[in-house]
Point group: C2
């Protein structure tokens, strides 16, 4: 109906970064900021900042710039941070537990309802108020609970199978830490990947390049 304007992924990826900088400014009691000043701080062009923001509305004022608090709140709305989300974590290993223990997510409205694992040693454990449940009851659990987001922190071997089960049972958002690309033909699902291995390889590539560029020191 509202036929929203298409926003490119490149823009979307910059939104959390704007949000972060605005939050920092707010913490420093800076009340207004121009695109030029923000440009210097963020290391991107003022033109890009204005283009990006204007995808979502005219938040600034000529001759003045942007009101930090207002823009911060608007960005929060755009990012969907004023809603509360129910979250389950699939895989209660080191990474799953680390995420469950990370309090900042709760603060932003991401409520961890439960964790799931196949390991009997982990089942029954309580991680900062959330119980680790048996993966065997996951399907039933999803029928009884309205879950917004599933976090996938299981090995790639079982990731595709479990992801399909999640989607077949109504999950439409997956935060995927498994080293596979998930595809759900015919379903409306959003997936955000955190491919740690890929990230580390990219670093390794860059380090190799850096070292080959720099001639030996004398």
């Amino acid at each position: 109906m509202k036929s929203e304007k298409y926003i490119s992924p490149a823009v979307i990826r910059r939104l959390p970064r704007y949000y972060r900088y605005l939050g920092d400014l707010l913490a420093k009691d800076i009340t207004r900021i121009s695109s030029g000043e923000l440009s210097k701080r963020m290391g991107i062009t003022a033109s890009q900042i204005r283009q990006d923001l204007n995808n979502f509305g005219g938040f600034g004022q000529q001759g003045y710039g942007y009101n930090v608090e207002y823009l911060y709140k608007e960005m929060g709305k755009i990012l969907g941070l004023y809603k509360s989300y129910s979250v389950i974590i699939i895989g209660a290993g080191n990474l799953g537990q680390a995420l469950a223990n990370y309090t900042n997510f709760e603060k932003r409205g991401f409520r961890i309802e439960a964790l799931f694992d196949v390991n009997p040693q982990l089942i029954g454990l309580n991680i900062r108020g959330s119980e680790v449940l048996d993966m065997a009851i996951l399907e039933g659990y999803l029928r009884d609970h309205a879950i917004d987001i599933a976090v996938l922190t299981i090995p790639k071997t079982s990731a595709v199978e479990v992801a399909n089960l999640l989607v077949d049972n109504g999950i439409s958002a997956i935060w995927n830490f498994a080293s596979v690309d998930l595809k759900f033909p015919g379903h409306s699902v959003v997936v955000e990947n955190v491919h740690l291995s890929d990230s580390l390889m990219t670093l390794s590539y860059q380090l190799k390049e850096l070292r080959s560029e720099t001639p030996l020191e004398e």
Copy 2:
């Protein structure tokens, strides 16, 4: 000297993905692959695959395609995976420990030498063979050990300060999990960011959009 051709970040980000798919093919005993077939599997154009690979050399053969094992190994070399890297983890909290416990990194040649933390409760702990050392001795440690990569898993409040200390003491690669953008003017340092909060916000944005697109079910 070797005046390497400039490779765009967009290409670099795709390299680990190629490497992953080639590894999967290899595991399935598939010995050859054409750009057309790989295109179908990866969901990117064959043209892009050929362009990307040809940044680094002509790995294929007309009429045949690419030899999977050969290309896999070449990609590994390009990514710098045949070297061994010494790694320290700064911040032995949940995330730092999770990364230290993740055995796949060791397998790829990233050896975790030590972890560092300020918390007395953690200092002295042994995480899968690596000791948690006092952050106070970090500077001295760096003088005595040749460390390739530092993993930054500390809160953003101290991240900038510690990162500067690392770089001042010879670290030239940082895998940054703190929610800040690190800058090192005048130093040659490569930084790879894993901004988990940003990633989760992106997911939240996408979920919000997905839900506003889809009209109510009847």
